[in-house]
Point group: C2
């Protein structure tokens, strides 16, 4: 399915240092905090009175991505953006990125150029400087390890530990799309493996494919909250699924949570695709992950400021820790949330939850 680059230049022709120079050639430093980038033992940054944020992420071929349907440019973009998302989830602004990469010699230089095009586009779109990295060979697949560095006004980082009983639980955008997008790609890959001459049937599914292949980090939400004068009491990004992230907030803040199923924002494309796969759309939202939306808690005093904003949804409220984290379904039934959705969740079991 994936178009391989037509030109193939062997990696050895450049050597490690030549390769790094070649790939990072167009990257210029744009942030005042970036004093010295690639080309020394370490990058040099200066943040003055701001707090510095650091997050890291490792992605492996065959575990986190499948090059059969993930174009390398998209992979580069996504790998960078998911790290930026973690910086935004602290109320910060990403400013630098380091990229450590291992690949086998089967990768031609042109493939890595595609990957770096993705990194470059993400850096451009989010105003981030590439300041360092490591490039090495791998015996098996492609391995990426990215570290994003950002900053936030001193003392203004928002962690997972500040949610209070009575706070409202809010999420940006909609959920479950990246997960059903992945199911669609997996299905088309199976079809392709069985019938190599078949054309993939991806028409009309742009939204969920983009959610999976080219997610964006919600910088706009961080800026919006600042403009509205709303300071969340806690914040996290949704990488592992709504359920898992709610449990993190509850555990770190020492509170419980009541989540209302009917309030969970799900796009119609996501809903219909989930139904086509005979899956519960709510389960896809709770457990699918990779949506990279921001979830945060706000004081009830801030309700008026956000209640009419179309970019966010109020999906529940925080409770006493003893009440635990629960989902209240559309019929009023109460189900404890688990990291996998709720207790009865089993992958690909349609409507499992509704059986309880």
């Amino acid at each position: 399915m994936l178009q391989q680059p037509v030109n193939k230049t062997e990696l050895e022709t450049l050597g490690e240092f030549g390769l790094i120079a070649h790939l990072t050639n167009g990257f210029l430093l744009q942030n005042e905090s970036s004093k010295k980038g690639i080309g020394d033992d370490a990058a040099v940054l200066h943040y003055g009175d701001r707090d510095v944020l650091v997050t890291t992420d490792m992605l492996l071929e065959g575990i986190h991505f499948d090059l059969a349907y993930m174009p390398l440019k998209h992979l580069g973009y996504k790998a960078a953006v998911v790290n930026f998302s973690d910086i935004y989830a602290m109320n910060g602004k990403p400013e630098q990125l380091t990229i450590a990469l291992a690949c086998s010699s089967r990768f031609p230089v042109e493939a890595l150029e595609d990957l770096y095009e993705g990194f470059a586009l993400a850096c451009k779109n989010y105003g981030v400087d590439l300041v360092g990295g490591d490039t090495t060979s791998s015996r098996s697949g492609l391995v990426l390890s990215l570290t994003a560095i950002g900053s936030v006004e001193k003392g203004k980082a928002i962690g997972r530990d500040g949610a209070k009983k009575g706070d409202l639980l809010v999420v940006s955008g909609d959920l479950g799309g990246a997960y059903v997008g992945l199911q669609l790609l997996e299905r088309e890959k199976s079809v392709f493996l069985d019938h190599p001459d078949a054309q993939p049937d991806l028409e009309g599914y742009d939204y969920i494919l983009e959610r999976q292949l080219k997610p964006e980090a919600r910088r706009d939400i961080v800026e919006l909250l600042s403009e509205m004068g709303v300071t969340p009491t806690s914040m996290i990004d949704i990488s592992d699924g709504l359920s898992s992230e709610i449990l993190h907030l509850c555990k770190n803040s020492g509170v419980g949570c009541a989540l209302y199923e009917e309030k969970i924002p799900i796009d119609p494309t996501t809903y219909n695709m989930a139904r086509d796969f005979e899956m519960d759309p709510t389960v896809c939202a709770l457990s699918g992950g990779e949506d990279y939306e921001l979830m945060f808690t706000i004081s009830q005093n801030d309700f008026e400021k956000i209640k009419n904003n179309m970019l966010v949804s109020i999906i529940g409220h925080m409770t006493d820790a003893v009440q635990g984290a629960v989902l209240i379904d559309k019929s009023g039934g109460v189900h404890p949330l688990t990291a996998q959705g709720w207790n009865s969740f089993k992958p690909n079991s349609p409507d499992q939850a509704e059986e309880h």
Copy 2:
């Protein structure tokens, strides 16, 4: 050869978050710059008026290390220390570390505990805080990607680009030991594979084995230079071999270099071991790598301050760029340096250089 831990607990029993919590349990924050460590979307640091240094490194099983003879505790120690070395090579002080790790389920929890014991010991010895990471599964071997963060007085970072014509070239410690240590380990591994009941013959080789298995970063040299009032004009650590690092300094500083073979510091154990392997000890020092010594250039005005110091050796001087980077051998012959030693270098070709 490697002793496997006796107890084996399957990784799945803990789950990803449980595993991270278990492994990072004993790590406490010690640096004032570490405001918030593990457990949120990103770590929070504050450096105030100091410059921040960031370096990253990826290590793969089968490429950078062989678990047949590299105990996991040593691997953890070394993986951390080589990153600290990059921070010292900028004239800085390492303060934080993030660890991204992928391993297959064949690793029991106890194996990862050994690895983290190594990380913990390195962090303790060098006063560094573990502040973040990522733990994921791998289909093949163990993959580590570490990012070290440190600081230096504003504007005092020392790069690779400040060497001037006439500056003296200085190196700490001695070279080639890690490389011959690796050759010894490889030889004993071959013997073991052919004769599984044979005992490894490693008696009397502690020094070179330690150079390979448990290197140290030269914090003492950075402190010494500061105490002596010597500010290097450029600095780099020796990870890829003396030749390669000299070429980096020359290229980045726009100078040439005259390196004197007879001045290259080589420990007697290294020398004798190289001879046993029918290798040229000078070639081992030039191209072996992994010594993690510091190499730096100083103004001739600082000669008196360091000339009698036993911890460092003056091995050459910087010249005009047009003169290139050359080795002057013990007979006065002049050989252009290449990243692989000098032109005639071929791996395992004994005394190749002397044929020219």
